[in-house]
Symmetry: C2
Subunit: 391 residues, 2 copies
């Protein structure tokens, strides 16, 4: 199958590209190195070094595997580039990771908020229009996030909700109530994609993904030049990855607020499996299909305790230290999110265990000297008044 990976230089994009290439598919990746530039801008960096540009990574993959991966270095906000790409490659599947992916980054200030929504909404509109014009039968697999749903007081279904109101029935898109302007950009995307399915008969699968953890995949382990990035900082890092780094360098695990915030989590290996399952079982023409892509629910405090126990096994003395929550979110809430559709397609989950955490410790230990300790504590706050003059 011809598979186009948008955001192919990223944490998940690059391993996804190698996985499909190893599976015998024709793979082309696009990236504008936004994440690399944003890291420079905010003074952070991946823990595991990325050796070389995207063409260099593809060349290393060719050397190791014998398989080619096509590369475009460019920005999908540029319509001419997007149109040329779809016209020439004619993808059968489009895996869309190509967005500004950080909530704290989107909440820094006006410029970052507007950049995030503009970048994400416009590049996705371009992709939809390119599919309509040049690849109308192709299938869009779009990475969304469980964060779009927020923390409703009712069970979170997979994309749709059947309701009855005043004696009449309707099926609605599951309501979204996200907690950052980044998450809202994904909600806007989902609404636009749903529209393209309804109006133009586009096929789409929206993957509302949980928080991903893990460092290695079958392909990244083959060669240091094939490694994927690993972010642990306040802007691009996520809870479990950050906790593992904190444990390793003797920093207390910084739990935001009460730590009762509950979310879905999954291993990076399962991200690859899920995306593959979605691609190999495409949505119908005109179908907007939604999967909740995670394998387990944890509260932040539970995660911290898992890392603490694994640290003990590893001979580390790990403390947990609640800090002021920089975000505006419920710290104790009901949370019950359904996630059966990918299991029905054949997902074999890798559950979180202390063994896995310990294996992450091993990789982190190798790169410990690269940790930027000043970039772990939160620097951006969600509420009004951070630097804002009062009226």
């Amino acid at each position: 199958m011809r598979i186009l990976i948008l955001g192919g230089d990223g944490y998940l994009g690059w391993p996804t590209a190698m996985r499909f290439s190893a599976g015998g598919h024709e793979v082309h990746v696009v990236d504008n190195y936004l994440r690399r530039r944003a890291h420079e801008e905010v003074g952070t960096d991946t823990l595991v070094p990325i050796l070389g540009s995207l063409p260099e990574r593809a060349a290393a993959w060719k050397e190791v595997s014998g398989e080619g991966i096509g590369v475009t270095e460019g920005d999908l906000v540029d319509w001419d580039l997007t149109a040329d790409l779809f016209r020439s490659f004619r993808p059968e599947a489009v895996v869309h990771y190509g967005e500004q992916p950080s909530a704290p980054y989107s909440m820094r200030d006006r410029d970052h908020a507007v950049f995030t929504q503009q970048n994400n909404v416009v590049n996705t509109l371009n992709v939809l229009w390119a599919m309509r014009e040049f690849a109308p039968d192709s299938h869009l697999v779009k990475l969304g996030t469980m964060g779009e749903y927020g923390t409703p007081n009712i069970d979170i279904e997979e994309g749709y909700l059947d309701i009855e109101h005043n004696g009449r029935k309707e099926t609605i898109l599951y309501p979204k109530l996200p907690g950052s302007l980044y998450h809202l950009s994904k909600v806007h995307d989902s609404n636009n994609i749903h529209f393209a399915c309804r109006m133009w008969g586009i096929r789409a699968t929206d993957l509302n993904q949980g928080v991903v953890y893990g460092i290695e995949t079958e392909q990244t382990k083959l060669d240091d030049r094939l490694a994927t990035r690993f972010d642990y900082d306040d802007v691009f890092g996520t809870a479990l990855n950050r906790f593992c780094v904190q444990a390793m360098i003797g920093h207390p695990l910084t739990v935001y607020g009460k730590g009762g915030q509950t979310r879905g989590y999954l291993n990076i290996l399962d991200t690859l499996q899920c995306v593959e399952l979605a691609v190999l079982h495409p949505a119908e023409r005109g179908e907007f299909r939604v999967f909740n892509q995670f394998t387990e629910q944890f509260s932040v405090m539970e995660l911290a305790e898992i890392v603490q126990r694994a640290g003990k096994e590893h001979g580390l003395d790990v403390r947990i230290e609640p800090i002021d929550n920089p975000r505006i979110e419920l710290e104790e809430h009901y949370y019950n999110a359904k996630h059966t559709k990918l299991l029905d397609l054949g997902l074999q989950p890798h559950f979180l265990s202390e063994t896995l955490v310990e294996s992450m410790f091993g990789v982190i230990e190798r790169h410990k000297d690269r940790v930027i300790t000043g970039a772990i504590l939160p620097r951006d706050r969600w509420g009004a008044g951070a630097g804002a003059p009062s009226s």
Copy 2:
């Protein structure tokens, strides 16, 4: 009260500005003349001539009424302009009409789709950020549209819906399922505004307005230089206004498809009343308040028949001619939209009558020679395949 009107050169923005000014408020208007330029671009024009620039209109108002209206000619997508404006004027209420307002325009092609969403989403984000920074206690009155809801199979409530699911309860934003990328830009706006209320304590009222008809208000009638625009064309015109022009020039009334499409409608006089009621009764800090702003529901065929009857009284021979629907929408559907909140605040509706239609005929007759007949039939189609190569 200090009232800032965004989009103050428009069909509704200009009469709103004069109405508040006449009511003794301090009024400032902003506009970048987008609508004037877009009309030139697509070869259409307002039926009633607009005599002069916004400063010239304000000068005429000063001459006629003795009251001043401040003017900024500029683009709210420009953050520096927006910030300066809020910093210096310090509005207590912000009435936001300042968006690309046409569904067909947004569906023309990729460029117009992206322009519409980028323009509307970014300028609204700028306004929210400026309120947060420079006028945190001010009240945003944002013009949305009933079209955001689409045509659900259940009653349309005013903004929120109480649901029960698996034995638990939640109140959600009423689901939206709009029919164009323009309408989606308004949905994105509403979601962003709701976020600003939740996170930053902004006060906001989202007015989901029906289709507005009518030409004159108390102030526009005072002087030809105070007239507001009147659009009847395929891109910026709306059903009733277009039908009246068609009747007057002997063109058949072009009903799209079966004509069972039912929507809410209101007189321009009631738009002014509703916006005034919203401004004078502001939302609470952190409240995202939603009103459905219309007074009556009609199907398109019912509207055509009203115009036909009024035409007969006026001595006109009016034919109704269904044409292929350029839009993708249900032509027969359930529709029951609630609209009690503005009535509760004191709205005194002006209902549509054949008398009103006849008075519109009078104004149209005066400007009949300005009708561009080539700009009445729809030129833009919603679906895929309009010029798109098949794969």
